[in-house]
Symmetry: C2
Subunit: 620 residues, 2 copies
Amino acid sequence: MSPKITVELLRQLRHAMRNGKCIAEPIQAYIVPSGDAHQSEYIAPCDCRREFICGFNGSAGTAIVTEQHAALWTDGRYFLQASQQMDNNWTLMKMGLKETLSQEDWLISVLPENSRVGVDPWIIAADQWKNMSKALSGAGHSLVAVQDNLIDAVWEDRPARPSTKLIALGLKYTGLTWQDKITALRGKMAERKISWFVVTALDEIAWLFNLRGSDIEYNPVFFAYAIIGISSIKLFVDSKRLLDTAVRQHLELDSPSKPDLTVQCFPYESVFTELRAVCAALAPKDKMWICDKASCALTEVIPKAHRAAIPYTPLCLAKAVKNPTEIQGMKMAHIKDAVALCELFAWLEKEIPKGTVTEISAADRAEELRSQQKDFVGLSFPTISSVGPNGAIIHYRPLPETNRTLSINEVYLIDSGAQYRDGTTDVTRTVHFGTPSDYEKECFTYVLKGHIAVSAAVFPNGTKGHLLDSFARAALWDSGLDYLHGTGHGVGCFLNVHEGPCGISYKTFADEPLEAGMIVSDEPGYYEDGSFGIRLENVVLVVPAKTKYNYRNRGSLTFEPLTLVPIQLKMINTDLLTQKERDWVNDYHRKCLETIGAEMERQGRKEALDWLIRETQPIV
Amino acid sequence: MSPKITVELLRQLRHAMRNGKCIAEPIQAYIVPSGDAHQSEYIAPCDCRREFICGFNGSAGTAIVTEQHAALWTDGRYFLQASQQMDNNWTLMKMGLKETLSQEDWLISVLPENSRVGVDPWIIAADQWKNMSKALSGAGHSLVAVQDNLIDAVWEDRPARPSTKLIALGLKYTGLTWQDKITALRGKMAERKISWFVVTALDEIAWLFNLRGSDIEYNPVFFAYAIIGISSIKLFVDSKRLLDTAVRQHLELDSPSKPDLTVQCFPYESVFTELRAVCAALAPKDKMWICDKASCALTEVIPKAHRAAIPYTPLCLAKAVKNPTEIQGMKMAHIKDAVALCELFAWLEKEIPKGTVTEISAADRAEELRSQQKDFVGLSFPTISSVGPNGAIIHYRPLPETNRTLSINEVYLIDSGAQYRDGTTDVTRTVHFGTPSDYEKECFTYVLKGHIAVSAAVFPNGTKGHLLDSFARAALWDSGLDYLHGTGHGVGCFLNVHEGPCGISYKTFADEPLEAGMIVSDEPGYYEDGSFGIRLENVVLVVPAKTKYNYRNRGSLTFEPLTLVPIQLKMINTDLLTQKERDWVNDYHRKCLETIGAEMERQGRKEALDWLIRETQPIV
């Protein structure tokens, strides 16, 4: 991987920062956040401004350019990757390390007095704006909104915003009509005396309307905004998309069944002016919900007296708790996904000794096998297919220049998943096709112990996921090891593979309590820079737990694995497992064999079934 | 325990809330926080305003009185106690339960429009003021500073502020002179370009000047403020206290060795005017540190442009990491304390069958035995001596009307500690003098497993204590049990038994990382309302841990118990322990026997030694 050469780009950007044509008054620093106007994690090519300016293409990171400096902040998953993708005009700021300055502190340390720091108000969240602005003004600087994006000004050939075909999902997949969802949402609005709700997150809009698109690779969403009133529904999308008959029927555009369930459609770009019009007509007591992660630009349209900023929207919460149809769909998706992944491993076992399988061809083969499964739509994120030292790059994606050949001498880590119409998958397995070293097995076993500790944890209703994070680390910590990422994230149902408001991470305190029906990942790891990476990830469903007692009638929860792919036994040092842990592994493998085996038989995939039977033998 | 009758008091307070003599413009609600002007947890009788108005005398709680309502917020430790001490004019607001409104939300739900909510700015912390004020103004109300305290206005016979004798601690106890501490503090100020630091926490002032007092029961502190400049030291205390020759010599008041180490003394009350004078003379770039937990009144004196509010002061951090002399002192204090407590248990064993020992007489006996130890100063908090159902009242304190007789039929919980000149102790043991039930043993064993999980935890340098909290709960959670308090708190060295900035609690995210030399408690519990209470508390020292590997050279930490009092074996169901846990118990008891046994021999306390030998037999 060779770094992007940015000398000329930075010269142009700095010129734009001073240039009267681009900006009324010069700015001394320009912040380039990672997201789009919807604060999406994965973004469309037209929104990859941070990657364009610095070369680093990971899913999280913020670039800041001053007259003298250029710096990029990213987290532990990306330290190695960012350092490889950026040239030496850029300083890598490693978030999470004690010595790393925050963006604010860094700006304060490098800026001349009374500096103006610019940012595009459409791609910075309102809460981030607020914090940044406060910190800067405390030090005598100011944060200013630069309406015309300065990256776009220097970006020739910037791609157009996508406008892909929309697909409407029926009750069979969603369990609830969009009309039901709107009605439930309005109930929550009425409870809190809220008259309007501005929906800005793409997955919330897709979920609410039971529509999917493919504007952003891996995420079945489409560019849109929505403004939901107590008796009106305003949807902002590219109008071309509404020519499709199925979509028109789905939204009842031509024959609405009820006046208050009539969808008014507006062009995507008109959200600003339309929101301004709605705000102008507000009664004195009217309150409007908007997520505090919505763009600063849109948030500022709502007068403060009417604005009710919330950390998580009611849609985010409703979407997180899957209904029975969604749970059933997620289970089916994981069964199909497991069939494909088991087939991949059976195939790899045969092919690797020939020396012809690479990280890329293995990833391609995985995609091909998944695509044979029913209702397959696409991948849910770029496959991380990594051998040996590449495995230590936490969010590695194989490229021709980094592509390694799989062999019987190195650990292979594959983190992959797919979108099916009935659900979204995300699974990581770490395997060895020869004989793993004692040290590799030892590390793998600690990771497995952590995985089991979370998966088998029993905890009271109302517990936030972050309180479980240390369970995943205890075995590693005991030996002086650790990993620099969270343990789990929420997973959407045929939606984004990462979603809020719950997860399992030491980094947050603001996650919402876990509830039965929520779905998260459980993915501890261990990474030895330059040698190997280990991660073991299942998607798990939060379910009620039966306990011997029931303190204060709170009830208890635990997890049920949805991912049913064997954990490679030869990577386990069984001496390091307790009897309870051995039982967990055996129970898990029994369930894999029963459920996935039955599906393999149904699909007539004999070779994979043989492999599955071999890989699910009980350990003692 | 009969509740305090508050009808007449509330009538008077409500009168004062409307009365032009007390307040310029009527207020619709009055907030009575728990603390004093220094945000102390334990307070002097003259500052017990919340207790005076509602009757509840626990260490944490806030009362709010409106025209129609009176409500008290407190946490799980005090639900039972508060409900017993308050009459039915008061509503108990149980903090930490999902359905309980916050103070802000409650006020908003009960107040008429545009209400004025009053509070004494001296006894509300600046950060609390800010949050409360913001929430109220968001709902159209306002928070107003009421200069003359309205409780004082209705409190006849309010006690005077204490001014006890000060004692100066030599190097033998402190390890560092106050001059060294001032110099180190100034180094930190210079690093951050801070020219002044306003010290408001009583334990920080006591620690900084190596002085102790007894103004507040159980906490060896004295009422004072300090303002530390780069070349000046202003100390605000009752001037009578400075007539003492030892104190004058200690502070070098009559012959300062260096100009910048000259202590200027001012009357306690003049801090406001003196701080105003310092602020008036500030250079434009001067910055002044003040803790954001300092009083709103004092914080507001500092112009915003000069104010650098910090969540924890450098003194709080320096004080938390004990130096070798302090560690040695804490170890000695815990050895002496263990001798006394073992003697108590040996005595109880003999006396209880006679039926003459009560909660109060047991607590008195414990105090008497402690007072025989060298350098004993007093208790570090009111002894919790509780039998059977009283044990479920988490911060119970026996009173004549609740006093139960110890018997061989009920569980006995004693949580007690002392101040010695060389250190502060805090220990809880739960014991049975007859035959505990299987259920009592089961619950005790889960609590023990939690205690061990924390005590034996190994974790990376830089880990915050809150990440360890779930370790203490896992065994309880597995069976559907839990406890509604944090797992541990910082412990001072001959200072407050509760101190920041570190601890082990799911409730906080803002604790500072644990460091070698810090001292915290490890005290999981289980409480069955109406039946029994179990808690198992050791004070533990953070020490470096030797691990097999050392990921990224971060180093690891673990805990070393300072408390060395046997854990009653008959309360343990050893079948529920793992081999590792059994080994921990045996190692711990071996250390108790060696260390405390040697001290008992030295002190010639044979009976206690016999008991200790019996109680530290290995389990299998």
